[in-house]
């Protein structure tokens, strides 16, 4: 028995080193090529492959939905995943390793913004093709990107600054309603506000301004919370911000001019995939810039010891208020996108349930970490979509997962790390050649 276990362990270890040897030496751009290739395979051959594997259509979300509804299709789905995603990625990263390393080395010598643009372009290409195959995928991707923005902006307040804010859905609502009002009033013929005041064709160009307007509305809301609650530290912010959430919700429920409990609908479809992607990238870039600067590090100093921060010339009160408004701004922008993605908002979307989801993504992914927020938002969002067929059991599995993470990694999966794009994109010397 012991012996068997031992050999099993050895084999396991062997597999691990094999996997490690396989994966090392592959720069990020090589992975992106692999993913791009896999998506191309699915785009052109997906229908054919799924037909021969006996699947009714291409598995939309990695086959979770199909498998959970019809367990008999498990072998076919696994085969599909292997042929469409697994094989092309393996083949491409193996064969492109050397040229990709050379390309990465070349990009490493260029300004970091150029390298980032190349990587993002490649990633967006893959994402666009992948989303092109089904409307459901498109919606899931857009909502996931919005979730990333929300989680990241909450991380700035709850993680980096160490306060506990509960009003993120409230900020989101302010942003969503402000942006919707702007676009509906100015650029759409709808039953709420009547005819468009400006030429409809101008709408898409003014959409960024509408989003910024939503963000500013949210940060003004944040200022209202910040002034009374940042005089002292402690639980005040949690309580006041929770109250703010309810105030905002009941305010818009009772404001007939924005539709009351029925909400607002028929927003123009400005929030296309590239728009959402660009706004999300901007959000990640700006927040990452901020938290890596000495001004942003002041948030950590305020969190870890406010008195020491104050004695070291940091204006703690100003820092806290500005950060809170900054976090709220991005929540407002995310809310504006949310309204234009669904093209419908009602007060019910911005309640305590939404707060719980954002908090779950934040604490699952990890505090004080940009990477953690991205991982948390993507995994919880995709998981909750993928487990949708389980209906009520979904709400047992996801909380259980959260509890497990809290037990084994109390600060979240990837906490207290710095997100360094340059490090991420650098070439990796081929060390796994003979392993």
């Amino acid at each position: 028995m012991d012996n068997q276990e031992h050999t099993a362990q050895q084999r396991n270890k062997g597999f691990k080193t094999w996997l490690k040897g396989f994966v090392t030496g592959i720069p990020l751009i090589c992975w992106l090529f692999g993913i791009f290739g896999a998506v191309l395979v699915e785009y052109f051959l997906g229908d054919l492959i799924s037909y021969y594997l006996g699947l009714p259509k291409i598995p939309v979300l990695f086959g979770f939905l199909t498998v959970l509804k019809k367990p008999l299709l498990i072998p076919g789905t696994l085969g599909y995943l292997f042929i469409v995603y697994g094989l092309p990625v393996i083949i491409l990263i193996k064969s492109l390793r050397k040229p990709a390393n050379r390309l990465a080395a070349f990009l490493d010598r260029q300004p970091v913004s150029l390298a980032a643009l190349v990587h993002l372009g490649l990633f967006y290409g893959a994402l666009h093709l992948w989303a092109d195959m089904s409307d459901y995928r498109l919606l899931v991707i857009k909502l996931t990107m919005i979730a990333i923005m929300l989680t990241l902006s909450l991380n700035v307040i709850n993680g980096y600054m160490g306060e506990f804010s509960c009003s993120h859905p409230g900020f989101m609502a302010l942003g969503a309603y402000t942006a919707s009002t702007i676009t509906l009033l100015l650029f759409a013929n709808d039953k709420q506000f009547g005819d468009a005041l400006l030429p409809v064709a101008l709408g898409p160009y003014f959409f960024p301004l509408a989003l910024v307007g939503g963000g500013i509305a949210a940060s003004l809301g944040a200022l209202v919370i910040a002034i009374p609650s940042f005089r002292t530290r402690g639980d005040y912010l949690a309580i006041i911000s929770l109250a703010f959430l309810f105030i905002v919700k009941s305010l818009i429920e009772n404001l007939e001019v924005v539709g009351g409990p029925r909400g607002m609908s028929s927003q123009p479809s400005y929030a296309t995939l590239p728009v959402v992607f660009i706004v999300m990238t901007l959000c990640i870039w700006i927040i990452n810039n901020f938290v890596r600067s000495t001004m942003g590090k002041a948030l950590n100093a305020v969190r870890d010891n406010e008195l020491a921060a104050e004695a070291m010339t940091v204006n703690t009160r100003k820092t806290k208020i500005i950060t809170f408004m900054f976090g709220a701004f991005w929540a407002g922008v995310a809310g504006g996108l949310f309204a234009h993605v669904l093209r419908y908002v009602n007060p019910g979307s911005f309640g305590i349930q939404s707060l719980a989801e954002i908090l779950a993504m934040l604490y699952f992914g990890g505090l004080n970490s940009v990477t953690g927020s991205i991982v948390g938002a993507v995994s919880i969002n995709v998981l909750s979509e993928a487990l949708r067929p389980l209906e009520i059991y979904k709400w047992i599995i996801i909380p259980l997962l959260l509890i497990m993470v809290m037990l084994f990694r109390p600060t979240g999966l990837i906490a207290f790390t710095e997100f360094k794009p340059k490090e991420l994109m650098k070439p990796r010397q081929n060390t796994g050649e003979d392993a």
Partner: protein, 259 residues
């Protein structure tokens, strides 16, 4: 003559509720001098530090730094005017590296503003590089530059004290307040810390205001020593005068009672 003093405290009194923590305290600290503050536990030494650095506002009295009135200013403003300090119980930021600690104390020197912080402008890059090299220099002064990238909470106690010292120096102070800089140190670390204090005093010409329990150290370093008991100064003078002052001996050892 009045303008000679770098730091001047006049008749400062402070009450915590009904408790009189500090009573009619006076201090004149001239450029380049080292003044020591000694006294039994609970005498109000740290309270005096907190009052001058703005953490508490004195009930009565006047504080002037370089001719500027400090009453009513926030601690961060007072710090930026040139008052660096360390804390008795080491107030470090547990998730930050040694280098980040020292860079953080350059906060008031940053001029790139929010725009620079958000968009990573070239100006920000220049300024960050400047304060980084300055931080490395200061870490070399206190001898912890080799561990600049470590998280501060993992360091031994003596090194943490040095980081705090470097951090206080990074705000480019005119006066350095040291609150028991050698508490919990072994004799070797103690000697190194005294060397550092002498070094910054000599090289940077700082005025130093020192709270310390180790009388040997205070006697060696300070030019003037104040003795505090129950919030009031009971003796002030050169080390020799203090050593032989019967009131000081009483405060520290208790009265000799002859039966």
């Amino acid at each position: 003559m009045r303008n000679m003093a770098l730091l001047r405290v006049d008749n400062m009194t402070h009450y915590f509720g009904g408790l009189r923590a500090v009573h009619k305290y006076n201090l004149v600290l001239e450029p380049g001098h080292i003044v020591g503050l000694i006294g039994p536990n609970g005498a109000g030494k740290t309270t005096i530090f907190n009052l001058i650095s703005g953490i508490h506002t004195p009930t009565e009295g006047n504080i002037e730094l370089d001719g500027q009135n400090l009453i009513g200013h926030h601690p961060h403003e007072i710090a930026a005017m040139g008052l660096g300090r360390t804390f008795q119980n080491l107030l470090l930021w547990r998730h930050m590296t040694v280098l980040e600690h020292v860079k953080m104390a350059c906060y008031s020197k940053i001029t790139y503003g929010l725009i620079g912080a958000f968009f990573g402008t070239p100006k920000r890059k220049r300024e960050e590089e400047k304060i980084e090299s300055k931080a490395h220099d200061l870490l070399k002064v206190v001898g912890v530059d080799h561990i600049a990238d470590q998280i501060v909470i993992n360091l031994p106690y003596g090194d943490q004290r040095r980081v705090e010292m470097a951090r206080a120096l990074a705000i480019e102070p005119k006066i350095l307040f040291l609150d028991e800089p050698t508490a919990g140190m072994n004799p070797e670390e103690l000697n190194q810390m005294m060397e550092i204090i002498r070094h910054v005093h000599r090289e940077l010409g700082l005025a130093i205001f020192l709270i310390e329990h180790r009388l040997k150290m205070v006697m060696e370093l300070c030019e003037i020593i104040q003795t505090l008991d129950f919030g009031r100064i009971i003796a002030e003078g050169t080390p020799e005068e203090i050593q032989n002052d019967p009131k000081v001996i009483d405060a520290y050892l208790g009265k000799e009672v002859v039966l």
